[in-house]
């Protein structure tokens, strides 16, 4: 790999991974906030209004970091991946431009209303929240449509000069790949948000502050988190794995660590891929499980990496393997944790179970790790292709941006984002420390309400 290609890839991977730490909470919280604001609108409940206002503050801070870190991604298609943009712009330009026109204006306009609209009525606040929910999820939809096309190109034709052009806009927007990718990804955002809401609730309860709010946080986070973390595995995770084995079998073989084509292929829970011997070291394996999951048959033959030419293997096999296992492992842990918490909540024990509250509190960073690992699975597994089966990553870079320039900006981004990360943690801790009561966006409406 030339060093310019390496830096281009590292820069996109780094800026995209860092960026996505923010929108996943934005999209998930938008869903929860819409639920909270609807409840406020229907019942006029001031307690729920305080809860909604608190999470609106977190939402806004998070949204801001998402906006500033999102712009570089849109620009980098051109700055670092010019040949890819020339080649595929006739297709993905559609979805990216639609995101700009349909999602960004909607989000940014109504965020202004929600943040500066202390004087607005509950109905307006509810409407602005709905528009933010729609806007952020639309944004997710268009970006996933773009990525789905890179994973599974549809609705395109090759022109005389070799560039690709879209042949059917509806075909592009209803890419069959998109269905499971969208449901899986968007459900994951709600898991992240629920986990965050539950974790802050657990923190307040364990430290003896804001008891009433803490219990609402926990109830909301645990119920929604249990449902969504279950949906992550079945059907959405399963649906994704199915389409990978159907359309990108080499990716599937690589992330499962299946070097040889086998009948009764096993599922590795733990183990380290060894590229010298083409085996998994220290394996803990469930025999036949992979054959069963892919083909519903314990004895079915699953294609291993040896069935594919070496130059079509994903180029960082161990990292892909670990990313997939971290994602799947954490996903399983979330189901167990939230399942236990839901059961305890239902039986009325949760608020007294200190050990479980500790687990819920410490769980907060792990959905971020799981989603990052999930995206690494999807994207590392797409290698060596930039557009699957059509354009290799090495053929997509900018021809005249040399490695010195790329490394300069990569270092700059790393330094700048380090600062951003520290600022975010500082400010979000600040908001959590202030708590839900002192923050009251609608204080002007409720002069008589106690505690306002």
């Amino acid at each position: 790999m030339t060093s310019a290609l390496l830096y281009d890839r590292l820069q996109f991977a780094f800026t995209a991974t860092f960026h996505y730490l923010f929108p996943q909470l934005t999209m998930g919280l938008a869903f929860l906030l819409f639920y909270l604001r609807t409840r406020v609108l229907l019942t006029g409940d001031t307690h729920y209004e305080e809860v909604a206002n608190f999470w609106t503050k977190i939402f806004a801070l998070n949204f801001g970091f998402g906006v500033v870190t999102g712009i570089p991604l849109e620009f980098q298609f051109g700055t670092n991946w010019a040949r890819f943009s020339t080649y595929a712009g006739g297709v993905i330009g559609q979805t990216l431009a639609m995101e700009g026109v349909f999602a960004f204006f909607l989000e940014s306009s109504f965020l202004g209303v929600l943040l500066f609209g202390k004087r607005f009525s509950r109905r307006v606040q509810w409407f602005a929240t709905l528009m933010l929910f729609v806007g952020t999820w639309l944004s997710g939809y268009f970006i996933l449509a773009t990525n789905a096309w890179m994973q599974h190109p549809v609705a395109y034709q090759v022109a005389d000069d070799g560039r690709l052009f879209v042949t059917s806009l509806s075909g592009l927007l209803t890419n069959p790949w998109l269905f499971w990718q969208f449901t899986h990804n968007m459900t994951a955002t709600v898991v992240t948000a629920s986990c965050m809401v539950a974790a802050v609730g657990a923190y307040y309860l364990l430290s003896g502050q804001h008891q009433a709010h803490a219990k609402t946080f926990l109830r909301t986070g645990v119920v929604v988190g249990a449902i969504t973390s279950g949906l992550m595995i079945f059907p959405t995770g399963h649906g994704n794995a199915d389409q990978v084995f159907q359309h990108q079998p080499v990716k599937g073989a690589a992330f499962e660590g299946l070097f040889r084509t086998e009948r009764e292929a096993g599922l590795y829970l733990v183990g380290q891929p060894n590229l010298e011997t083409m085996t998994i070291d220290n394996p803990i394996e469930i025999p036949g499980a992979l054959s069963f999951l892919v083909y519903k048959d314990l004895y079915a033959k699953v294609k291993g990496l040896d069935a594919f030419p070496r130059d079509e293997w994903p180029d960082n096999l161990p990292l892909l393997y670990y990313a997939y296992h971290v994602m799947a492992g954490l996903g399983t842990i979330f189901v167990l944790l939230f399942g236990t918490a839901l059961l305890s909540l239902w039986r009325g024990w949760l608020f007294k179970m200190k050990w479980l509250l500790w687990w819920l509190m410490l769980c907060a960073p792990f959905p971020y790790i799981a989603t990052s690992a999930g995206w690494m699975t999807a994207e590392l597994g797409r290698q060596p292709w930039l557009v699957y089966g059509l354009l290799r990553t090495s053929e997509g870079t900018s021809p005249l941006v040399h490695s010195g320039n790329a490394l300069f900006t990569l270092i700059g981004f790393v330094g700048l984002y380090l600062l951003l990360g520290m600022l975010f943690i500082l400010l979000v801790s600040n908001l959590i420390r202030q708590g839900p009561v002192s923050i009251n966006l609608s204080a002007t409406h409720l002069p008589q309400s106690p505690g306002a």
């Binding site: 202004g112 500066f116 941006v401």
Partner: protein, 345 residues
């Protein structure tokens, strides 16, 4: 169809400069004219609810450029690599400053973000003006349709140009002065009291400076890119656009003296919009002019996506654009008039 999208991109960019332009302008002038903390909060609240929606015009214009003219997007963004990454970093600082300043109640925290907002606003205004200068002057596109310009070479707009030369620097400074004027007009319209008076005083000085810089720019453009006048010679009636633009600047100064704040702001908006539209009209059909060989230039015809894509795009763009207008009118009408004290936080 290729031409229709050129008009759309022009429109979106001009909207961006008019709208986010006053955000930059406020960022440039407020630390000097808003002295107390209450005044600074008022100044920042005047752009607080709208700056993000304004900035989206740039992002959306970039995405529409990518969609309609993928080759021009790829060539331009990779060719101006360093300058564009610099823009990204500055936009990050500008956004953070506006969002984070009110988060911590500490003097040093506020001073740091005031400085960050001020410096990033000045530099962004300069960089965008410089970018326009580069488009007018042309770039060394090769026969594959790519180029790379360093930040500077010999500061001359010759055959081996850099991003910075005397011409592009002149446009950068003009841009900073004009947007500062525009921002001061905006502040004068949105505030009252001492802040209002100081904004009016700043706008007067900046207005005269804008007129001076505009005159210099208008004289410099034919020296660097004589062919920009060709389209005007063919359609002399379009000379009205820059003419009305210049008259608008005059009106803005006149309204300034007559203390008609809203009219002064609207006039500076019209001035900026028409000047940009005139440049784009002169550029047509070129998007990136090659200084190496005119034949290597990227035009709306050889850089565009195919006709199905362009036509399908018109379908959704018309609907989307009406929605955008609806949101923006709603947003700006909600915060119309002087900054309200209950919006400040």
């Amino acid at each position: 169809m290729e031409t229709a999208w050129f008009i759309i991109v022009t429109l979106m960019l001009a909207m961006y400069v008019v709208l986010d332009g006053f955000d930059f302008g406020v960022g440039m002038v407020y630390p000097f004219i808003a002295r107390t903390e209450a005044e600074r909060k008022t100044a920042l609240t005047s752009i607080g609810p709208v700056w993000n929606a304004n900035e989206v015009w740039l992002i959306a214009a970039g995405a529409v450029l990518f969609f309609a003219y993928p080759k021009a997007y790829a060539a331009g963004f990779s060719g101006f690599y360093l300058a564009l990454i610099l823009v990204l970093w500055l936009l990050i600082f500008r956004g953070l400053a506006l969002e984070l300043r009110a988060q911590v109640d500490h003097l040093l925290w506020r001073q740091a973000w005031d400085a960050a907002l001020n410096i990033s606003s000045v530099l962004l205004a300069i960089v965008f003006g410089t970018a326009l200068g580069n488009l007018i002057r042309g770039v060394p596109l090769n026969q594959d349709g790519y180029f790379f310009v360093p930040l500077w070479t010999d500061f001359l707009p010759g055959s081996a140009p850099g991003i910075l030369d005397w011409f592009t620097v002149l446009l950068g400074l003009s841009s900073a002065v004009i947007l500062a004027f525009h921002g001061a007009n905006y502040l004068a319209m949105k505030t009252d009291g001492f802040l209002h008076q100081r904004a009016v005083a700043a706008a007067r000085i900046l207005g005269w400076m804008s007129a001076g810089y505009t005159a210099l720019t208008v004289m410099a453009v034919p020296m660097v890119q004589p062919s920009l006048a060709l389209n005007f010679t063919r359609n002399p009636v379009v000379y009205l656009a820059p003419l009305i633009g210049a008259i608008s600047l005059g009106y803005s100064l006149y309204f300034r003296l007559r203390r008609r704040d809203t009219s002064a702001f609207l006039a500076s908006s019209v001035f900026i919009f028409l000047m940009l539209a005139s440049v784009m009209f002169g550029m047509y059909p070129y998007i990136l002019v090659s200084t190496t060989d005119r034949a290597f230039s990227l035009t709306v015809f050889n850089a565009s996506t195919d006709s199905y894509g362009l036509t399908a795009g018109i379908g959704w763009f018309v609907g989307g654009f009406l929605l955008i207008l609806a949101y923006q009118v709603y947003l700006h009408s909600q915060f119309f008039g002087k900054v309200r004290s209950d919006d400040i936080h």
